[in-house]
């Protein structure tokens, strides 16, 4: 009994440790102040005194999630980076997020409110106490097979008292966030505008009757991004006398960047100078230590020197391709089933999870699985991939009762599956358009939108003759290259679009 209690205690401690991890598991900027964090440090700009001051210190983040709610609590302890300035910032704030999952249309609506707060800032002898915090945030999340995309709006107001009776500092803020999350990475970028309205009177000095008005207004804009990204890197074997020449490593990097621009008064001994403004900008950046995971060693005999060797080996390392370790047959035709299996495995761990869950359920209820497809019966081990693909709308059978598992994969089919996995098919123009491909007339109606979106996003391009060859069968090498390009899109193109293309241009 005692032993059980001990185990229970250890489990409880472990759970508490997990819940109070120093940083959030997903890449989301902590709080809504534009600060950046790594595993140990936290940095933020503070404008309450009218001067832009960098505060540094630590942050503790705890997250709790239930079925339709989650709570994030941030606990900050900071001091000014400039040691000549005396000050301290303590802030503890909890946000409660409620999710409304519209599973029928694959969307989730979330709304976030502040559930608990306390904040106290001391700068050069002045104390700012948070008396009221109003906050509202709402996001629309589009849950697509390979990735979730979201954007939201943020509104809030913080009201501080200054030295209890000397006045108030009201910080209004509004903005939005945009982000994505998938197996290969996630990025959230927030753009928030702050308006400062400080009404303050500095008490009269001894011998004087009236105090000094030290009121000021100002504004600041912060663009902050937290980004996590996984990539595959090849490293060769340093030893020559080995059974393999090299292997892939999956590297997970996470970093946060923020850019502040501000328009503040020039402060002279806490009194704003009405004739001059302090208009400038600053940037903060912290990155975590990369995490590395070794992958399966590829040993194909027939891909050495092939133009698609790197793509094939990457996919094999990821466990995307099954079968013989000896021969890949890069120039043989890729079948529909092989491609779907690779796509489901490579792009979307959630699909795999659902597959795994279904597999475990399936092991218990094997007889309950009934396939509508005569060529992929429910007892076929590959049926789980076909089912996942069909359930998620990535593919459909050649007819309602025949999947066409062994049919050769055409380029149009592959592109359509990839674009549907990304959930981008609705980004195509309204019907009735043509593209500049020489063989535009050969594009099947069902593939037209996907091919448009794929070429507009740089996933595919025409050949030297401006032909897209939609009905051409794909070789296993060509399909591998397309899958790797797709993974690169999930890894880096999305990150660049959601981070660099916002931060560097805004």
């Amino acid at each position: 009994m005692k032993q059980r209690k001990g185990i229970g205690f250890i489990v409880l401690l472990t759970l508490l440790a997990l819940l109070a991890s120093p940083c959030p598991a997903s890449a989301v900027p902590p709080d809504f102040s534009g600060g950046v964090a790594d595993e140990y440090n936290y940095q933020e700009m503070v404008f309450l005194s009218g001067q832009p001051l960098e505060f540094v210190g630590t942050i503790k983040v705890s997250e709790k999630a239930k079925a339709d709610t989650s709570t994030a609590t941030y606990n900050f302890t900071l001091t000014p980076k400039d040691s000549t300035i005396t000050g301290k910032l303590t802030r503890k704030v909890s946000y409660l997020t409620t999710y409304d999952r519209q599973t029928n249309i694959g969307q989730t609506l979330s709304s976030t409110k502040v559930s608990n707060y306390s904040e106290s800032v001391t700068i050069s002898g002045d104390k700012y106490d948070l008396k009221d915090f109003q906050f509202s945030k709402s996001d629309a999340i589009d849950n697509r097979p390979a990735s979730d995309y979201y954007n939201g709006n943020i509104q809030g107001r913080k009201t501080f008292t200054i030295n209890k009776t000397q006045g108030t500092a009201v910080v209004d803020f509004n903005g939005g966030d945009v982000g994505f999350t998938n197996f290969w990475g996630n990025t959230e970028t927030q753009i928030i505008d702050y308006n400062f309205n400080v009404q303050r009177t500095i008490p009269a000095a001894k011998g004087k009757t009236t105090g000094t008005d030290a009121s000021w207004q100002g504004s600041a804009k912060v663009t902050v991004s937290d980004s996590l990204n996984k990539s595959l890197q090849y490293s060769d074997n340093q030893a020559s006398l080995s059974s393999f020449t090299g292997s892939y490593t999956r590297v997970t990097r996470e970093d946060m960047s923020s850019q502040y621009s501000y328009d503040l008064p020039v402060m002279n001994e806490k009194i704003p100078d009405d004739t001059e403004r302090n208009q400038s900008d600053s940037a903060l950046s912290l990155e975590k230590v990369p995490k590395v995971e070794k992958m399966i060693i590829p040993k194909f005999r027939d891909v050495g020197g092939h133009w698609a060797e790197s793509s094939i080996n990457q996919l094999y390392s990821l466990g995307v391709f099954e079968g013989s370790q000896q021969f890949f047959a890069p120039d043989a035709s890729m079948t529909r089933l092989e491609f779907i299996r690779a796509l489901v495995k490579a792009c979307d761990i959630r699909a795999n999870q659902s597959v795994t869950q279904k597999t475990s359920t399936a092991s218990k209820k094997a007889s309950a699985l009934v396939s509508p497809f005569s060529d992929v019966p429910g007892t076929d081990p590959d049926y789980q991939y076909v089912k996942a693909a069909v359930d998620k709308g990535l593919a459909s059978g050649e007819s309602d009762y025949y999947f066409g598992a062994d049919s050769a994969l055409t380029r149009a089919q592959a592109v359509t599956m990839i674009i549907k996995a990304l959930g981008f098919e609705d980004r195509a123009p309204t019907p009735g358009y043509s593209m500049s491909f020489a063989d535009d007339d050969d594009i099947p109606d069902w593939a037209r939108d996907s091919i448009y979106v794929a070429q507009a996003n740089g996933l595919i391009s025409g050949d030297d003759g401006r032909r897209i060859n939609p009905n051409q069968d794909m070789t296993r090498a060509e399909a591998s290259t397309m899958l790797v390009r797709f993974l690169n899109f999930l890894q880096s193109d999305l990150q660049k679009d959601y981070r660099e293309n916002i931060l560097l241009y805004s």
Binding site: V251, S257, S285, V292, D445, W446, N501, Y505
Partner: protein, 559 residues
């Protein structure tokens, strides 16, 4: 008998032409139907073999019901759909098989090929700016020409700029409203992160491919055309798409670790709060450096001849910097003044770095700006005349004809004597021009003032007025990058510039200075984005084009 029956049928047919027409219009007979969808009945999930049904009203008004089979296919505007996507009232065309629908196409799209305005985006680097045309190269190497209109909004870091505020080498995001039209509806330009922060040289000592860092030893930084000691060792970030070249060959990042111990040249930028390598060139031979002007270019062999009679070749890997931006080799031209760092072996020289000095009043060929100097006369409500006028042409003052210059409420006017901005009303009502024969002028010793005028066409965007005539022949044109600012108790605001050059009229060439240049800027007409700014508004890293008289800057254009 048969003959009689036949005649009877003919007579009946002639008597009832509608019956024949009805037979001809019967969709079941025709095998197709056109009209309006009247009703869609989705299948009953409990009823096996029920695939639903459709009711269609022909254009003639007749209503027909059709069964849906498991082989029926549906589409709307050529897009395959399911039965439940069809809606009552939709115009349709269906092919029939008996009383069943074989295929049914609905028509719905009001505007074909429509995209959400601004939803088509192209990101790339400006290769050429010509009138209303931008040549932009995307990261995948594809290039195209795009067109602007006077209504195309352009912003850099969220601040509105004009087309003449763009530079070759700028990174842009172009937004389009239509799928097949290259007229840009909106342009966003990358902000300060596009600018080269510094150029370094050092020995590559470590490469962290997971963390994307490399470490250099014996690091030197290029300042004032001299390699100056920077740090003994230095770790710097790079991106996974960093281009690395050696002897003109592109080196894969994976192989970078094999070049440890080699000297490398780095260009860095400040990106998202950290300094990051943007281009790396590995030195393969021996370094030779020259400040020189290009006299001739052979594009066939990618080589140029300098005015010091040295031949230098270049390639896609050469680091070429102009206007603070990394550039394509296409910016090189005859007359380019630059600092060349070459990878040399005897007479063979390959440019590792070309740091171009050339700076002008305008950023590109679309600029219409000029700087004039002269004596003010006849100030009217919206215009004034400059006498004894000089125009800054090719970096030196050239006399020109007296001309009328227009100003407006948006013109910034700066009194360079008092150091204050004045309003147009104060400009027209002040003593900036006088009748020298008048008693008042004689009694108060008043004379016409002088002005530096920054114009866009014949409109004055910024005017700096001053009392005593400047000797323009003593003035020099300089360029440089602000390293620091300080306010001196006696001299006022001073700016210290690095990487500065003076224009030599004799040599017709920019001459680099090998030391920092410090200038008094407190009384100068300082212009950024066509507006006057204060001296303290300058920032470290600002690139300046300066008209100066020895220590004192007169006109400063922030590039």
């Amino acid at each position: 008998m048969l003959k009689r029956i036949g005649i009877l049928i003919i007579i009946l047919t002639m008597l009832c032409p509608g019956a024949l027409q009805a037979a001809q219009d019967d969709p079941l007979a025709q095998g197709f139907i056109e009209g309006y969808l009247n009703k869609v009945t989705t299948p009953d999930p409990k009823a096996a073999g029920d695939y639903g049904s459709l009711s269609i009203e022909t254009y003639g008004g007749a209503i027909y019901d059709f069964a849906v089979t498991q082989d029926s296919t549906f589409s709307i505007d050529n897009t395959p759909v399911k039965l439940q996507d069809l809606h009552k009232g939709m115009e349709v065309y269906g092919k029939l098989e008996g009383s069943s629908i074989l295929t049914l196409e609905g028509y719905s799209t009001a505007k074909t090929g429509y995209i959400q305005p601004g939803s088509r985006v192209v990101v790339g680097t400006i290769q050429k700016i010509d009138s209303d045309q931008l040549q932009v190269q995307q990261d995948n190497g594809m290039g195209a020409s795009y067109y602007t209109t006077p209504a195309t909004p352009i912003s850099r870091s969220g601040q509105a700029i004009n087309l003449d505020g763009l530079y070759v080498g700028d990174r842009v995001k172009l937004y389009f409203d239509e799928i097949d039209n290259n007229t840009v509806s909106r342009i966003e330009v990358q902000g300060a992160s596009i600018l080269v922060k510094d150029v370094y040289k050092g020995s590559l000592s470590m490469v962290d491919t997971a963390g994307l860092h490399c470490t250099l030893s014996g690091v030197q930084v290029l300042k004032d055309c001299l390699w100056q000691s920077y740090q003994p060792t230095w770790r710097v970030d790079y991106n996974s798409d960093l281009p690395v070249f050696m002897a003109g060959q592109k080196i894969s990042l994976y192989n970078l670790k094999y070049y440890k111990g080699r000297d490398v040249y780095l260009v860095t930028k400040s990106v998202m709060g950290k300094e990051c390598i943007d281009r790396m060139v590995i030195k393969s031979q021996y370094e030779a450096a020259y400040s020189a002007q290009i006299n001739d270019i052979n594009w066939g062999s990618n080589a140029c001849k300098l005015n010091n009679n040295k031949n230098v070749s270049f390639n896609d890997g050469s680091i070429i910097i102009q206007d603070g931006r990394l550039q394509d080799k296409g910016v090189l031209s005859v007359g380019t003044d630059a600092y060349f760092v070459t990878d040399s072996l005897g007479s063979q020289r390959l440019a590792s770095l070309v740091y171009i000095f050339n700076v002008g009043v305008n950023n590109s060929s679309v600029g219409q700006s000029s700087v004039y100097s002269g004596r003010l006369s006849d100030i009217f409500e919206d215009s004034f005349w400059l006498r004894s006028e000089y125009q800054l042409q090719d970096n030196s003052w050239q006399s020109c004809d007296k001309q009328e210059v227009y100003y407006d409420n948006d013109t910034s006017i700066f009194d360079m004597v008092s150091g204050k901005v004045i309003t147009p009303a104060e400009f027209v009502g002040g003593d900036y021009t006088v009748d020298s024969d008048s008693d008042r002028a004689e009694e108060n010793d008043l004379n016409d003032w002088y002005a530096y005028v920054y114009t866009m066409g014949d409109r004055a965007a910024c005017i700096g007025v001053y009392k005593d005539k400047d000797t323009l022949s003593e003035e020099r044109i300089s360029t440089g990058t602000v390293r620091s600012l300080k306010k001196d108790d006696t001299a006022g605001w001073e700016a210290t510039l690095q990487n500065s050059c003076d224009w030599s009229g004799v040599n017709d060439q920019w001459m680099p200075k090998n030391a920092d240049l410090t200038l008094g800027i407190g009384q100068a007409l300082i212009i950024r984005n066509n507006k006057i700014i204060t001296a303290q508004s300058l920032k470290s890293g600002d690139r300046l084009y300066i008209v100066r008289n020895d220590f004192y800057a007169k006109v400063v254009l922030v590039k």
